[in-house]
Amino acid sequence: MTETEIRQAILEAIGQIAPEADPTAIRPEDNLREALDIDSFDFLQVLIRLNRRLGVEIPESDYTQLATFSGMIRYLSDKLAAH
C-alpha cells in the first residue's frame, strides 16, 4: 500500500468520526486530537477504523506514536511494510 493510500485511509477514518473537520487544514506535525477537537473516545474510534481497513494491529502502548498526522502515516507504513 502506498503512502497516498494510507493517507487516504486516515482521512476517511477521520471523516467518519469528525465529519465537520477540515483535514486539509491539518499540518503534518499537529496533534490530531487537538487539531480535530476530538476526545479519547473519538481517537479510539479512528484507530478502530484504521485497524479494520488496513488490518494493522495497534497496541495501546503505541498510541503516542500515532498522535500526529505524520506519525500516523509513518507508523502505519512501517507496520504494513513489515507484513
Binding site: P19, E20, F41, L47, N51, E60
Partner: protein
Amino acid sequence: MPSLGADMKEGTLVQWNVKPGDTVKRGDIIAIVATEKADIEVEVYETGTVETLIAQPGDKCPVGTTLARIHVEGEAAPPPVSPAPEAEKPHRVKASPLARKLALEMGLDLENIKGSGPGGVIERHDVGHVAAALKSKPPEAAEPAAPEMRHAIAVAMARSNREIPHYYLSTRIDMSKALRWIEQSNQRRPIERRLLPVALLLRGVARALTDVPELNGYYLDDKLKMAGEVNIGVAISLRRGGLMIPAILSAQKKSVDEMMTALSDLITRARSGRLRGSEITEGTVTVSNLGDLGVETVLGVIYPPQVALVGFGKIIEQSWAENGMLGVRPVLTASLAADHRATDGHRGAQFLQTLDHLLQDPEAL
C-alpha cells in the same frame, strides 16, 4: 408530547414509527420528536395497540399534548373515538404533506411561512421560496451553532444557579493501580473492546453512589427524593456545539465492560441524534469528564432537579508523598458539586473518599 428535558416547553413531531392497528410493547420506539437540543426517540410505556395518531409529522406540540391514543392491553375496549378536545389538539399549521416534508428537511418552521394555497395552505413552492430567500440573504454576524440548544442550556443552567445552593469539594486520587489494571486488561483485548479510564471512573461513581445514595436523585417539592436506580447522565459535547447529558440507565448493575459498551453506544447515538426519551429524562446524577482537554479540576453546575455533579479532570503525573517517600504518580482530581439543600459537605466528602477507595482496588470494581 413527553417532557424531554427540565425546561422543555414544546417539541415537533418528526415521524411516526407506528400506524393505527400496530401492536406495541413497553420500550418500543414509536416516534421521533425534535426538541431544542436534538431529535429524540419516544418510547412507549405500556403494551397495547395503537388506536389513533392524533399529531402529524411537522406538528409543533406543547408538552402534555396527546400525540396518539393507545389501547392498553387488558383494559376495557375503548369507547368510539370522538374528536380530541380543543385543548389537547396539537397546534396545526395548514400545509401540504410535501411542504411539511421539505420544511422539516430544511429546518424551517412552518409557522413562519405564508401559504399561497387554498385557504392559506402552505404549498411546496412556498417553502422553496422562503429557503431561496434565506439563501440569498447576506450572512450576518457569525452566530454560534445551534442557537436553540444554547438557549436550552442557558435556561437549565440559569435555573440551577438561581435555585440550587451549590457546595464544592475535590480530592486528588492516585490512579496508578487503576491505570495499570486497564493497561493489563487492554493487552488481552482486540482494539474494539479496549477500555478507556472513564469506564472505570463511571463504575466507581455508580458503586460509590450506592454507599452515599443522598447524592443520587432529585430535589423536588422542598425535599430530597433519592432514586432507586443510579442513572448516570454523561455530559457529551456535540460536533455542532453544545452538549447533551443522556444517562446510562441502571449503571449500578453494570460491570466495567458493560459500562464501556454502554458509554460507546450512548456517545455514538448522542452524536448522531438518536437518543431515547428515557435517557434524556431519567438521569439521577451527572458526570462531566473534561480531562481530554487538559482541564485539571471540573467545578460543575448541577443539572436540576438533580442534586449532584461529579467532575473529572486530566490524569496528570504529579508529585505524591506517601509513607515519608516522595514519588511521581498519575493523579486525577475528582470533584463534587452538590446541592446543599439535599446534603452537607460531610456526606459529599464520604462520597469522594469512597470513590478513591474503590479506584485503589480496580479488580474488585
